[in-house]
């Protein structure tokens, strides 16, 4: 076995953490489904050892119970929220103002750890989450496989139906290119090619996915209409019945149909009343400002400002009221942090959001 260098170790152990609101979803999926509020599955990963596991996860001491399962000892414990000087934290990174990270919110959270693959990780393009087909160079020609986050998102043991929002917040170098989340084109039936999940792309888009339908789809609608998805579905089934279609084409249509069925399900659920949401273009006022890379490299790698931007997004996803925040799509380490400039298309896609009406609708 080759020497395990510190950096290789860090790469291999790059953290993956899944935050699953609604604790009851673990204990009793059926009961959890009865809850009327949308469920959120948020995956975070730290790239390139950008955060130590000890900073990312709650303390080991909180894992007070254990259970033997499939040859492993699975440990669990109650999340312990500490508050100090107006700042609440579950871990150094899972930290936020105590007005946002409240005990009520924490009571609805699950934080899962130990889901990443701690070996053969290399660069974080999905291999560390189980898709070894993305390992840089892929010299062994391994096929793409769904990553653990998408497996969980579509696992009936967690959700009888897929969560209404599954967001992967990744710290890969370029989320647009190196998104780590992979899944079947047709995840419900586990069919089709395994493809890279669509990344949020920009913080504006992520925000709109969470809080508001595309403005054009809402504002231009003259009056409420019954969704037409069922008729669209009929159209797809009509084409699918054509015997001249190839097997590959049929699989692609099946994937499309599956997503349409999911969309129909979502549209049929009552949508929570959403306060007016104003998406403000990057004002520049709250841009990240990182002095230089050298300040980030010394160990322990910082769990500071950038990760709090992450958490800000997570909290927003979970419905914590906030008046204004910024988020950044974070790079890993080193050169990416050098520049204070911000580009919507770059690693530091940012925007400032303002949610009027205070409380957002998902709690």
């Amino acid at each position: 076995m080759s020497e395990l260098t510190r950096r290789r170790f860090l790469r291999g152990t790059g953290g993956l953490m899944l935050a699953l609101p609604f604790l009851e979803s673990l204990a009793a999926p059926a009961a959890a489904q009865q809850a009327s509020r949308p469920k959120r599955l948020v995956s975070l990963q730290s790239a390139h050892g950008g955060a130590w596991a000890a900073d990312l996860h709650p303390a080991q001491a909180t894992l007070t119970e254990s259970l033997a399962y499939a040859g492993h000892q699975v440990r669990r414990g109650q999340l312990a929220l500490s508050v100090n000087n107006g700042r609440a934290q579950l871990s150094k990174i899972l930290s936020a103002p105590s007005s946002q990270l409240t005990a009520r919110l924490v009571s609805k959270m699950n934080v899962l750890r130990g889901l990443g693959v701690p070996f053969m990780g290399f660069h974080h393009t999905g291999g560390h989450l189980g898709n070894w087909g993305t390992i840089q160079g892929n010299l062994h020609g391994m096929h793409h496989r769904p990553t653990i986050d998408t497996v969980i998102a579509h696992a009936p043991g967690f959700y009888e139906r897929p969560p209404l929002l599954h967001v992967m917040l990744c710290g890969a170098d370029e989320p647009e290119v190196a998104g780590s989340s992979w899944g079947y084109e047709n995840p419900r039936r586990k069919q089709g090619q395994v493809v890279r999940a669509a990344p949020a792309g920009s913080s504006v888009r992520l925000f709109e996915r969470v809080y508001a339908p595309p403005p054009s789809a809402v504002n231009a609608t003259p009056r409420p209409r019954r969704p037409l998805v069922d008729r669209v579905l009929q159209d797809y089934h009509r084409l699918r019945a054509d015997v001249r279609l190839s097997q590959r084409d049929r699989l692609r249509l099946d994937a499309h149909i599956s997503h349409l069925e999911e969309l129909e399900q979502k549209l049929s659920q009552p949508r929570p009343a959403c306060p007016a949401v104003e998406v403000v273009a990057d004002s520049g006022a709250a841009r990240l400002s990182v002095p230089n890379a050298d300040e980030l490299r010394p160990e322990p790698l910082f769990p500071g400002l950038h990760w709090h931007q992450y958490l800000g997004t997570v909290l927003q996803v979970m419905g914590v009221p906030a008046s204004e925040y910024v988020r950044g799509e974070l790079g890993g380490y080193g050169d990416e942090f050098v520049a204070p400039g911000v580009r919507e298309s770059g690693q530091y896609a940012e925007a400032t959001f303002r949610a009027s009406g205070g409380k957002l609708p998902f709690l």
Binding site: S216, A220, S246
Partner: protein, 501 residues
């Protein structure tokens, strides 16, 4: 449209010649997004009487309800034929007509029809079922309308125009001479230029190029740039020049691949980029200006491909880029801990070439690729600084103070080994491009990229061999690029599809 996920560069190596058209993934977001767009489009087009009149005619807004049914029928037929790129069958008509509620027909009913048609698989996908008879076995000819749609998609990324539809309806498209006429016409259309521009930018966009204004304010970069202040648009203008260059040689002139590849002309249409080149701004119409520096010869000396946005010139990035993107070579990944060792030998007071040699030679497992394959190619492009400007002298500045540390004449001599057994020394970029052309690797690489781009899938060397050869032969024979691109569409294989037996 913001609801739609952006296409990602895809392909065997997405960062090196990856193409957005190859991203054919079906995401939940793309399905929901296309539906949202269809709903918005329907609602928007019917949101006022004026719009509705323009959409469906006077009968859609008058007070006479007796003509409502006929009005809807006509609308479904008209929009359906356009959206589905073929005449509607009775089944189609019934299906899309069924969205309409009982008379009186409202604006929302028309909106629903738009939504259904724009959400239809026949609109969103390129459905090619072919003629019913299969001859030879395993292959079916496309119908005339399918062929029209494929031709328009291939060269325009759009739907067929009226002339193509008419040629399909009349049977002209299924006759060899008539088809060739349509290929000529479609290729000559300005819409083809948009496709070509996107192709060349997608293919050639270098991942390592940062925004050129990102490091303004840092000592060494400011010292390097002097009075030239790059703006936030400079990078996109550099990339756009690659597209403009491709369009010029492949569409506006009868340029050959070699002329494109060894070009010494500037296609800079903005003052900042022209200043980097030291040429007048090109007006986009007249003959493009010629570079004043002889070293600026060839594709790889374009500003987008030599600039770095840093104080240094990064020969390694350029070498990797050239081999992977322009020669379609595969380079094994670096050792996982390469950076740790590399940092230990980094120094700021020597030239980029000297730093590169020190980094690459520090470990035997790095030297294998770097010394033989990567670095030499980068070294031949050393006559350009971090902004892409020609330099005869390399000046290295202190990142902490901006003070000049080193000043040395550029050494661009190297043995690039474009082919493994080619030990010729290149004096610089001019020789590099000549060696590459002689190897035929860039031509083969371009042929593969073009195939992937226009067919939206990766090539199969066996099954797609005829099309690839049809493309490659004119490229190697020195025929115009435009002839090579048209040759693909003239292949019999282009007019048919395979079927499962």
């Amino acid at each position: 449209m913001a609801a739609l996920p952006r296409d990602l560069r895809a392909g065997p190596e997405p960062d090196y010649g990856g193409l957005r058209r190859l991203d054919q993934s079906i995401y939940a977001e793309s399905v929901a997004g296309t539906y949202a767009v269809a709903v918005a489009l329907g609602a928007g087009l019917s949101s006022s009487a004026e719009r509705l009149r323009a959409l469906a005619g006077e009968c859609a807004v008058d007070t006479d309800t007796s003509n409502d049914s006929a009005c809807v029928d006509a609308f479904v037929e008209r929009l359906g034929t356009f959206a589905l790129r073929r005449p509607l069958t009775a089944d189609d008509h019934t299906s899309y007509r069924a969205a309409v509620q009982d008379s009186p027909v409202s604006a929302a009913d028309y909106a629903d029809i738009v939504t259904l048609l724009v959400s239809s698989p026949y609109f969103l996908y390129s459905v090619e079922l072919g003629e019913s008879q299969s001859s030879p076995p395993g292959v079916v000819a496309l119908t005339a309308l399918e062929l029209a749609a494929r031709l328009a998609l291939h060269f325009w990324h759009s739907a067929p125009d009226d002339a193509l539809i008419a040629a399909a309806d009349s049977g002209e498209l299924l006759e060899p001479e008539g088809y060739a006429r349509q290929v000529e016409r479609v290729y000559a259309d300005p819409k083809t230029e948009r496709m070509l521009e996107e192709l060349f930018v997608d293919w050639l966009e270098p991942k390592h190029l940062d925004e050129l204004d990102l490091r303004v304010g840092s000592f060494d970069y400011d010292a390097l740039r002097g009075d030239f202040t790059p703006g936030p648009e400079l990078k996109s203008r550099m990339l756009r020049e690659l597209g403009g260059m491709g369009v010029y040689y492949a569409h506006r002139t009868d340029g050959t691949f070699a002329e494109f590849f060894e070009s010494r002309r500037s296609f800079a249409e903005t003052r900042d980029l022209a200043e980097i080149y030291g040429v007048p701004v090109w007006d986009g119409e007249s003959e493009p200006p010629v570079f004043p520096d002889p070293e600026r010869t060839g594709l790889l000396t374009r500003a987008a491909l030599v600039a770095t946005g840093h104080g240094t010139s990064h020969p390694i990035f350029k070498g990797v880029y050239a081999r992977r993107t322009v020669l379609c070579e595969t380079i094994p990944p670096p050792p996982a801990d390469a950076n740790v060792v590399a940092m230990a030998v980094m120094t700021d007071n020597v030239t980029s070439r000297a730093v590169t040699e020190a980094l690459s030679g520090a470990r035997a497992d790095c030297a294998g690729c770097h010394v033989a394959l990567i670095n030499p190619v980068g070294f031949t492009l050393e006559h350009f600084d971090g902004l892409g400007r020609f330099r005869a002298i390399e000046r290295v500045y202190d990142p902490e103070s901006g003070l000049l540390l080193v000043e040395q004449p550029v050494d661009s001599k190297a043995v690039p080994r474009v082919l493994p057994d080619d030990a010729r020394e290149a004096q610089g970029a001019l020789d590099l491009h000549r060696f590459m052309l002689e190897s035929h690797k860039p031509q083969v690489c371009f042929a593969r990229r073009y195939f992937r781009y226009t067919f939206a899938r990766e090539e199969d060397d066996v099954c797609d061999g005829c099309v690839l050869n049809a493309l490659l032969r004119p490229l190697l024979a020195g025929e115009p690029l435009s002839a090579a691109l048209r040759a693909v569409a003239l292949q019999q294989a282009f007019r048919q599809r395979s079927v499962e037996l």
